[in-house]
Subunit: 335 residues, 2 copies
């Protein structure tokens, strides 16, 4: 019998990409070339974007690693750079269709062990809604991964409302992941600082925009989760709450107390230490946090189940954190 | 006998500004006009930048409020918009000299109840060092307030190293406050979202830059504190630590474990709820957190002493949080 943990935050890269067949010049279309044993380089615009392990596309490698991680079900979502909002919409749709079909194929290989979240070309909201419908209805995806912003416009901006309303109506789960974070021009020094330093604030801004922009008021039943524990949002929320209580302009602009919106959101557990995990569970609630690992990328969490168990919470709460909350986010049938 | 609390985060605005006497056109030079009873508008570029209470410049009003807040000593620093990095350096120097002299005058009215932090024109590092020396040596200021970045360049960038080294050598305390935060183009909706939403991530990026840029390695004895509990830094630090432990490129780029730098930093207590205050004390250490209120601006914390007391820590720890850590940050003689 497989373990019961559900990891809502893992990524895939297809083993191959079709050649670019669009009409534009210099589109940053990805391709794969072999690297060291068990790895491929993802090439974009003639450069190595990232060197990734075979576990990005191999379900058999994933299933072995899941056994070791005590994960029964993994949610597969695109490597965020594949979300392609910066491509011409037709090109992005072609690329994402390939990615979505790959994800659906991986899910079909072990449908009790994988759920799939695809990608949609949100630079064109109508096309994004059509691809969302195709992904959910034809490919059987559980929903989609989206970024924190679309080419610099936060997801809470009004133009994206039709997409969120469509996702709500379709029953599609939305997983939000930072990509091209704000503040990149503020980074200093070498060593992956963009990935390490800029991401938490970026994720927090996206969550805030869904509150300050009214998205969550207009799509109250949306199932939506945020990677990396919601980034910095746990530090932002008390400030928003205090401002809402003390500044009349803030109260006028946001219909409900900022804290009340948290009861509609999920957050993954990927905060990298026990004290911080305990804190986000305290701030957001034990019914709001799901396992997330960033598997199989370099920074991924090797022992997500242990991270939750080491909190020494009661059995029922541990079960919610390891699986129950994720099952609700994904709308899985009760086990 | 006055209360023993020390508030390291309060702001002043001078009651008047001299007329602009520089050579440029359209410099955003501030002026004051009367507003409702007990208030003035700060006018910048012909618009109301902020409407501020008389407590911004009145020491008698401040001392009354401090009594109510159980604060024995307040650290006075400029309203961040007065830091003037976006003015021609000569104009900024003239404006900041006025502000610094006003702060010094307020301190002279009650030197056992106020400490002063001035401002320096960091858009010209040599001029900033000269103004720092003048402020500390001639005006008796305890140090200066600086922003998280200078016109978009994080304070950890190499060009600011001479300033931090000079501050260390002078024994000047540095208080870092967010202004013109990154991510403003990502905000959605009305109601002071810039102030409420964007600031925590911005502060975290500044702290990270001092670590990833090597500033703290080159000025190991710098006394430096960060407003708003370090913003989102408490959520960022475990991610930096995990990356440092798992990614060789990060370890190559940062000489010591990210957590080890925290022992050289202070953070104010302005995080707006008990759970979050307890968390930053847990993450940074009880010897790293000082009272901070944002007095007298609208969002200011009315009961900073109570916020710490409600944590129900032992007496010695409560004393450190209410005064001891701040006295060390300010290098005050032992009480």
């Amino acid at each position: 019998m497989p373990h019961d943990g559900i990891d809502i935050h893992s990524h895939i890269v297809p083993k191959v990409f079709p050649p670019y067949a669009g009409k534009s010049q210099a589109v940053p279309w990805p391709s794969m070339v072999p690297a060291q044993a068990g790895h491929h380089h993802v090439m974009i615009s003639g450069k190595i974007y990232r060197t990734v392990p075979d576990s990005c596309w191999s379900t058999s490698v994933r299933l072995e690693d899941m056994e070791r991680m005590r994960i029964g079900r993994q949610v597969l979502s695109p490597m965020p750079e594949l979300l392609s909002y910066w491509l011409p919409p037709e090109d992005a749709t072609a690329l994402l269709r390939h990615v979505n079909e790959e994800i659906a194929a991986m899910v079909r290989e072990a449908p009790t062990r994988f759920s799939g979240l695809g990608g949609v070309p949100l630079q064109d909201v109508d096309m994004a809604i059509r691809e969302l419908e195709y992904g959910v209805r034809e490919l059987g995806l559980a929903g989609v991964e989206i970024a924190t912003h679309i080419n610099g416009v936060s997801i809470g901006a009004p133009q994206f409302q039709p997409f969120f309303s469509a996702a709500q109506d379709l029953g599609a789960a939305i997983f939000v992941h930072s990509v091209h974070p704000c503040g990149r021009d503020r980074l200093v020094g070498a060593g992956a600082v963009e990935q390490i330093v800029a991401l938490p604030g970026d994720t927090a801004l996206a969550i805030a925009s869904l509150i300050t922009g009214g998205t969550l008021d207009r799509a109250p039943n949306l199932r939506i989760a945020f990677g990396h524990g919601g980034g910095a949002f746990a530090m932002l929320l008390p400030r928003m709450e205090h401002a809402w209580n003390t500044m009349p302009t803030v109260k006028e602009a946001i219909p409900h107390a900022p804290r009340s919106y948290v009861k509609r959101l999920c957050f993954d557990s990927l905060v990298y230490d026990r004290q911080t995990l305990r804190h986000i569970i305290g701030v957001f609630g034990a019914d709001r946090v799901c396992l997330g690992t960033d598997y199989p990328f370099q920074i991924y969490e090797r022992d997500p189940s242990g991270s939750v168990e080491r909190l020494e919470l009661d059995q029922a709460t541990t079960r919610m954190l390891r699986a129950g909350n994720a099952a609700r986010f994904l709308d899985l049938p009760a086990a």
